[in-house]
């Protein structure tokens, strides 16, 4: 059974009299443990696809099975629980709570999962250590560099042990050196068995993935396997 199975997925936005066809019918299967890059020019529908995969949005047409379950038939609460347990989001703009420190930001998904305070603090702490931020637990986002913020966001995505990490242009707001560090972190996570889907429009980023899906105008233009994904050279503190 595939982890993700989408068929003819379409998403339209109606704005006044105009209808935007953000996705026009996309079919993909993604297996557990894959490291997949989604590429395409700006406006091609990448984020729309990610939002659908992440159960933040519902398709206008088509079907989406996650872990063999039909997402279209799920209630609002079930979707929230899927986002909480099965999905870990990483955004271009980090999307951390500005008023909370790193530890609390990472704890957040565990709160909604109903994990008791002591256990969730311990797990959040451990996950922060794993992404190399053991010494930044009590810093707020504005006291952290861009790369560190994105690590906090990744820790938050990881903390509830989701089935998939969805990262929408995670290096888009970072300088290239920091971007490379983040990518090597993804690579490390992938090596440890996590399923990772990264949206990017930088060819450089895609070279690291084992599979690349190219999207153009809401349709899949190419679905390539990368036989020799390039390893990131930058050193990171061992996760």
């Amino acid at each position: 059974m595939s982890l993700i199975r989408i068929q003819n997925l379409a998403r339209r936005y109606v704005m006044g009299t105009e209808t935007v066809h953000a996705l026009r019918g996309v079919s993909v299967q993604i297996e557990r443990g894959e490291y997949l890059a989604i590429m395409g020019p700006s406006g091609s529908g990448k984020s729309t696809l990610m939002n659908l995969l992440g159960c933040l949005d519902t398709p206008s047409e088509g079907s989406y099975e996650l872990n063999g379950k039909d997402v279209a038939r799920m209630s609002d609460n079930e979707l929230a629980d899927i986002r909480n347990r099965e999905i870990g989001f990483v955004f271009q703009s980090f999307n951390l709570l500005a008023r909370a420190d790193a530890l609390h930001n990472v704890e957040l998904p565990l709160i909604y999962a109903g994990v008791p305070p002591k256990e969730r603090r311990e797990r959040a702490r451990q996950t922060l250590v794993n992404v190399g931020l053991g010494d930044r637990m009590h810093h707020r986002p504005n006291e952290l560099s861009g790369g560190q913020r994105q690590r906090v966001a990744i820790a938050r995505a990881l903390v509830n042990s989701p089935s998939i990490i969805l990262a929408d242009e995670p290096t888009g707001n970072l300088d290239s050196k920091t971007g490379v560090e983040i990518l090597s972190l993804f690579e490390e996570l992938s090596r440890r068995g996590n399923t990772i889907i990264v949206v990017t429009h930088e060819e450089e980023v895609a070279l690291h993935a084992r599979r690349v899906i190219r999207i153009r105008d809401g349709l899949i233009a190419a679905d390539e396997t990368n036989p020799h994904p390039r390893a990131v050279v930058a050193s990171v503190s061992a996760p």
Binding site: N51, G54, L56, D57, D76, N77, A80, D81, R83, N84, R85, F89, F91, N95, L96, L97, R99, A100, L108, P109, I111, Y112, A113, G114, V115, P116, R156, N160, S161
Partner: protein, 417 residues
């Protein structure tokens, strides 16, 4: 590990915790809103505390009559209505002669007594003298029991004192202390309105009622007062039943006797008042109910205004925190969790004002306890009611903003700048 969900209790705890954090950071901006709740709760609590202090004072002090005793009066115990006063003033006063009639005809009574105020004056001893504002009371021997007087030292009046109009007196506690700063006043002589009396007793301390000492007076036998000041003294008559069970029946009998004595036509209202400790307290309650109602109206308006303020500030807060809401939804918050978080925030906000109002109201309301020299009071029931109202205000006015927050589209929220 991943199959866990939040129990409703855990969810409530977590959402309140989140809300508390948000309120902490917003407290200054919210101070105007909080002020509204403060005013609403403050006015309720202050007035209720004040009334409670007076009522407590009245109840403590309303041992003015003995057990199972009532008093015939021309005037109602408490009245603020000028028209009533006119009516009371036109009533025939009770005279000393009424006493013997009552004694004879109210067969259910255990004791019947009379007392009369024969005017105020200056009292003096060989040590000290007072201002000319000391009330003088004539009392029959039984009046000590029916008016619940306890002797501190010496004795009350005997029938012989009364019958032969002896020049003896009993002093109130404060007056005795003033006239005889050292040593016992017993057998000493006190001069009142130019007449010398021998002190036979001193009363135990009775405390103040509505700020007025009830220990600053001189009592002489009613027979003596009658001899010195004439038959026409206006008196108050007390009637005591032997026990609780016969009290009501006795009141009716005495009422009938009094109506006959005063020739009240059948069907007409009594032209006198029957006042007991309980009836005075009851009357105080009904009088203050108008005040309570007024305060309820004022504080309702304040609380509604405050509620609208809370709604407004919460709507602003929801807009400002659109992004936060999107983040929470993206990482798995259910709509209900978001809603609870914002309602909890509104409630906490309201409770901050409420708690301040409770504290302020209790302090302010107890100012009156200094004035009337009564112990301060904390009206716990109203504290509970006040805080419950705050919660209700928070819930009622926080629900719409919270609903709005919960129903924001997660994707739009995440994009919100």
């Amino acid at each position: 590990m991943n199959s866990r969900t939040m129990t409703p209790w855990r969810e409530l705890v977590e959402m309140v915790r989140m809300a508390a954090n948000a309120v902490k950071t917003n407290i200054l901006r919210s101070s105007l809103t909080i002020l509204g709740v403060f005013v609403g709760v403050f006015s309720i609590i202050a007035v209720m505390t004040g009334i409670r202090v007076l009522q407590q004072n009245l109840e403590d002090a309303m041992n003015g009559l003995g057990a199972n005793t009532f008093q015939f009066q021309r005037f109602s115990a408490i009245s603020f209505d000028a028209a009533d006063w006119e009516k009371y003033r036109r009533r025939k006063p009770f005279r000393i002669v009424d006493l013997s009639q009552l004694e004879r005809r109210v067969t259910l009574a255990q004791a019947v007594s009379a007392s009369a105020n024969f005017g105020s004056g200056e009292a003096s001893s060989r040590y000290a003298q007072t201002n000319p504002n000391i009330p003088g009371n004539g009392m029959t021997p039984e009046a000590f029991t029916t008016q619940n007087f306890t002797l501190g030292e010496g004795r009350g009046f005997s029938t012989a004192d009364d019958d032969s109009g002896r020049l003896v007196c009993v002093l109130g506690f404060d007056l005795a202390a003033k006239l005889f700063p050292r040593g016992s006043p017993l057998s000493e002589s006190v001069k009142f309105q130019g007449i010398s009396y021998k002190v036979v007793g001193v009363l135990a301390q009775r405390g103040a009622l509505f700020g007025q000492s009830r220990d600053n007076f001189i009592a002489i036998p009613l027979g003596t007062a009658r001899r010195l000041y004439g038959e026409n003294l206006s008196v108050q008559l007390q009637v005591q039943a032997p026990n609780r069970d016969t009290y009501a029946e006795m009141v009716e009998q005495a009422r009938g006797v009094m109506r006959t004595m005063r020739q009240v036509p059948p069907g007409d209202d009594d032209d006198f008042e029957i006042v007991s400790n309980e009836s005075a307290v009851k009357q105080f309650r009904s009088l203050t109910s108008a005040i309570r109602l007024g305060v309820a109206a004022i504080s309702s308006i304040a609380l509604i205004a405050a509620g609208i303020g809370i709604m407004n500030i919460m709507l602003v807060s929801v807009t400002e925190r659109t992004r936060e809401i999107g983040i929470r939804r993206a990482i798995g918050a259910r709509k209900r969790s978001v809603m609870m978080q914002f309602i909890a925030e509104a409630v906490l906000l309201s409770e901050v004002g409420g708690a301040l109002g409770v504290v302020g109201g209790i302090l302010f309301g107890n100012l009156i306890s200094f004035v009337v020299k009564a112990p301060p009071v904390i009206p716990w029931d109203w504290v509970g009611i006040g805080l419950a109202i705050c919660s209700a205000v928070g819930i009622v006015f926080g629900t719409y903003p919270a609903w709005k927050a919960a129903h924001l589209d997660p994707i739009d929220s995440l994009r919100y700048e």
